[in-house]
Symmetry: C2
Amino acid sequence: MNLKELSAKLNLSPTTVSRALNGYPEVKEETRRRVLDAASRYDYSPNARAQGLATGRSQAIGHVIPLSTKHEMVNPIFGDFIAGAGETYSSHGYEMLISVVEDDRADDAYRSLKRRGVVDGVIVHGPRMEDSRIPMLQELGLPFVVHGRASGLAQDYSWLDVNNRRAFQRATDFLLDLGHRRIALLNGLETMDFAARRRAGFEAALTARGLNPDPGLEVSGEMTEAMGHGSALALLDRPMPPTAFVVSSMISAMGVRRALEDRGLRMGQDVSVVTHDDALSYFTSGADVPLFTSTRSSVREAGRQVAQMLIDRIDTPDAPPRQVLLEAELTVGRSTGPAPKQ
Amino acid sequence: MNLKELSAKLNLSPTTVSRALNGYPEVKEETRRRVLDAASRYDYSPNARAQGLATGRSQAIGHVIPLSTKHEMVNPIFGDFIAGAGETYSSHGYEMLISVVEDDRADDAYRSLKRRGVVDGVIVHGPRMEDSRIPMLQELGLPFVVHGRASGLAQDYSWLDVNNRRAFQRATDFLLDLGHRRIALLNGLETMDFAARRRAGFEAALTARGLNPDPGLEVSGEMTEAMGHGSALALLDRPMPPTAFVVSSMISAMGVRRALEDRGLRMGQDVSVVTHDDALSYFTSGADVPLFTSTRSSVREAGRQVAQMLIDRIDTPDAPPRQVLLEAELTVGRSTGPAPKQ
DNA sequence: CCCGTTTCCCAAAGCGTTTTCAATAATCCG
DNA sequence: CGGATTATTGAAAACGCTTTGGGAAACGGG
């Protein structure tokens, strides 16, 4: 069933039917009712491609995801973010389009989406410091919102980020208050902007207490379970091992925990661990005291909000860019305790 | 730059340019070269919507994902599956379209995708037993491939599944060989087809040795960390606690491990654990002996293959449906050992 | 009752491709 | 050399919608 057929059944012109369907005011209420009624009876929906061709819009939003495991997105937080964004999209009549590409082809992917008119806007994931995608998208004229943000860029653009710096500063402060002095940082890849900010927060907390950050206690890498395990083991085997860890992801924290077990150390007593927790729906452990003390921020909620920001941006392109900074909660679990006496 | 403009620059008709671009034989080699050359110089790509309208195809594949956490897809395996499928799509010129919907709206979502011509086919995730989506899609005439399969359906359709039954039978056999006799099963939601098959494999192994499956040792639910933890605690606190666990997901297995710790039991010595491992890229722990003994099967690879099957199906709709059954590997880790002496 | 407004509807022109049908130029074969 | 192919290109229709520019009927005020 297409528009022409439907309008034939109604003895109306396609024009009128289209207008009735799209809520234009110049059609009689009774006619509109008839049209709407027939549309649902004959199970008619406009063909999306034809509609898109006529309106110049695709009602779709793109997410470009680099293929490699290295990237922070093909990882647990992906599913939750997508779920959040998808909620917003579907309630606004947008489709979500995901483009998985070779790592070095991301720029081409954005260009291609724009050129072929496949999407009306994109969400930028995992921004790096001075991320070149931002000026590029601005030049392309493709509406976008960044999940996270990129330091060191002159331009003004829309983003939504967690206050990573403050979160890690608070986490570190918390450990310092418990008497810990040798605190290790297991950070994400520091080409990622969020990781750089986390480190800054970590070091700021130390410096504020007159402590010198020890580069030997700072590790950065992909946030896998193995990375947490390996790095923690190496650190624990040092002559002066850390008494506490600040860890950038739940998954790595599990690796740290395994390392502690390997060394016969009790988490929360011999060694404390604070981790960042993206509040993944399948990981939240119900009502009891959580295993890990963590800085917590819902990726799903971030997805919802970022999507909304982008839709607003597409609707009113001339509005100034918006920035949203979410604060993470610091939730106390069973993985932290006072520093052991020397 | 659109087709008309490009052809004007070349002093050719849009017809010829289109044909040159699409590799039709009736255009002179030299002309084709000129066209291709100009296209890349002026950075031209055909508008996807116009192309779609003209050809009647959208070059996109849909994935309908129910919103709720309950569903097995908004979970860690999602990201990996998507990455695998996305690889295949992008190398075949398809886009991936994800539709996140309220749980009870999934059927509408499929219908709508079809009606509006948004996608050329869909992948069905997380089939339940006698899943009604399968006959529905068949009736709709929307090409599809199921990741997993659905018992109890008469029709012939394409699917790719892991041999869940055999995997769990082998896992259970392995534990029986080690002398375990009280073995617990922590299964996924048994409305899910794969969970039913896993249970069947588990029970078959027991029965083959003349053991009666004890319903008190079989738990089914969402495969979260908390579920693993809670169920394991309850089982361990029974008068005759199990000496081994067969667990349906890595995440739940981590919960089991936490429960063992809570009770002061050593995993691999006091209690054995075998889990199913979807070989998620961020979880694989490098070269050392893995923590968990597991039945292992790569979700990413499944994604790649399912996508390919669907594309083939779209290209040749008249070919008979295909079924692929992948075998899981049984990989020995440090979570299993001989049953303790009574 | 007349004329300017509204109200309601329609024909037709796009949107940017592909594809059918036809035309011209080049080539072939006897 | 002439008719029949074959190679190469183009004009125009089609895909299914939205939107512009009218136009006719109904209305309202003087």
